[in-house]
């Protein structure tokens, strides 16, 4: 599997080519700041054992690279910084430092993200953005899993999304190309489409974004999962965990792996309680080799480790405050 990368390359300084083997002080300072930022970003994700920082000649290049699943949190955190929804001071500060170097007109620096071998420049949006800041608490976005059922109005596009007509209003759900292709292979235009989407709401209760989670092909599944998720906020954690087993036991008993996958995909999100994530890991443990499940379980594990790490940090901080 090719590695995903975040590549920062100092090409020129004052129109003179930069070379890793002969840096002047200004270039060395810039490179040190970039490496420091990459190190801090790397250090700020729970599982960085598969991440490497690479320095290379050919101008002066510093990159962070690793397996797609280990790079995913780095890219996710970057998206939050760009959208100004990140509350993480390390991520925001590291990206602000990268931003200030990219904005320095004396340098000519390339900044690219490479995912699955496809290179995308992030320079323009980082340079154009206002100085990165942490989201203040009142704008803290709130993410909820919402269920939408409506007429499929439009699907695909350059930035892939799904448009549903729900009670005359146009609901837009962002998705990946694969997801768009999958949904459109199953549901024709103007037919009913049932979708679960992670919905981000700002402090003023406005929807900022909806991100595709799952699609359902019948009302029973849609209602089952909708009522399960609605019950989460009203039930105590133990009762909710019992419900998870009640749903998964018969699916696994009868080897209904693709149905189980639909159930499992509801839990692939960092906003879940640690015990819910762990329960899902335990439930899916013996099935990590089943093709429909293995990939999903890996992603689940990343969110689990992230959450665990975050809670540990908070706990240690509280301890040292005592």
């Amino acid at each position: 599997m090719p590695e995903d990368k975040l590549v920062l390359r100092i090409e020129k300084n004052e129109n003179k080519n930069t070379s890793l083997s002969s840096l002047n002080i200004e270039e060395a300072d810039a490179l040190i700041s970039l490496i420091t930022a990459l190190r801090d970003l790397c250090n700020n994700v729970p599982d960085n054992t598969n991440l490497k920082i690479e320095l290379k000649e050919g101008s002066a290049m510093a990159s962070l690279r690793g397996t797609p699943s280990s790079m995913a949190p780095i890219f996710d955190n970057f998206d939050e910084v760009i959208k100004r929804t990140s509350r993480d001071s390390v991520d925001v500060e590291s990206w602000r430092n990268i931003q200030s170097i990219l904005q320095n007109k004396r340098f000519n620096i390339e900044a690219n993200i490479i995912k699955k071998g496809v290179k995308t420049s992030i320079k323009e949006k980082v340079v154009a953005a206002k100085t990165f800041k942490r989201a203040s608490s009142w704008t803290k976005s709130n993410v909820k899993l919402e269920f939408y059922s409506g007429k499929l109005n439009e699907i695909g596009g350059k930035k892939p999304n799904i448009h549903l007509l729900v009670d005359d209003s146009d609901i837009i759900v962002e998705c990946s190309e694969t997801e768009a292709v999958y949904v459109s292979s199953k549901i024709r235009l103007y037919e009913t489409v049932r979708i679960a989407a992670w919905t981000k709401i700002n402090g003023k209760n406005e929807v900022i974004e909806r991100q595709f989670s799952e699609v359902y092909f019948n009302d029973e599944d849609f209602e089952l999962y909708r009522s399960l998720i609605i019950s989460y906020k009203d039930s105590r954690l133990p009762a909710f965990i019992d419900k998870m087993y009640d749903i998964s036991n018969p699916l696994l008993d009868n080897k209904k792996y693709s149905d189980f996958r639909k159930f499992m995909s509801l839990f692939i999100h960092k906003s879940w309680n640690l015990n819910v994530l762990k329960t899902m890991l335990v439930i899916s443990k013996d099935f990590s080799n089943v093709p429909q499940i293995s990939n999903l379980r890996e992603r689940l594990n990343i969110f689990y480790l992230e959450q665990k790490n975050r809670l540990k940090t908070i706990k240690n901080k509280n301890k040292s405050d005592d």
């Binding site: 087993y245 036991n249 696994l252 640690l274 015990n275 819910v276 329960t279 665990k308």
Partner: protein, 231 residues
Amino acid sequence: MTTREIEESIIRTEKQGTPATFVGAAVELDIDGDAVHSGIVIFNGNDYKLFHFTGKDVLLVESSDPNWRNRRWYYHKVIDRIDEQEIEAFLGFCRNISKRATPRYAFYYDGQAKYAPTGDYIYASVKGEYMTCVGFCLNVLHSFIDDGQYLDPSTWPVTDETDQPNYEDFLSTLRKHDVEFDNNIIKVGFKRISPSEYLSSAFLDKKPIVYNDVKPINDQVELVLCRFENN
């Protein structure tokens, strides 16, 4: 590890002075301070529960439950590798197993079998849930803890309880229950891991746990347990 350190880590299973959250390997002592039964204790804030196989039933009992016999004779050691923040997930797992498990008592632990997330027993060698109270605890822990075997019973010696005549008895029980088995495979699993060895395993974080690591700790643990009851 010094005997003193071991002594300080083995705690009487009772309400703690302050709220506590952890999972512990627990044993029940008899009047001589010998560990005669085992279970898993789960402390969750102000209260605690015992999850165990009585030899007949699988029970998840509250500390106030009259079904928990000899409650004041229980001692435990915290199992560090279960994170206190995951206590609700562990309890949920126990509740699901208690709904479905139907073990039968025998000196059998092959280290391969475990409780599936569905609460069903998954076996590699013997078709049927044969285990001791210790085997039950080990099976549960093995299923909850991340990948890898919790304890390797093949490193355990044959004892009086698992010698040839007793093994023959076990085989005839299996035949009586119409259980299919492969003689060569299950011979390896006809082992008894004692309750105090189970308690001792909680002092180790290497996995799988092997007999040679448990032995020196267990020698001290047994001494410590005797002292508890003599006090």
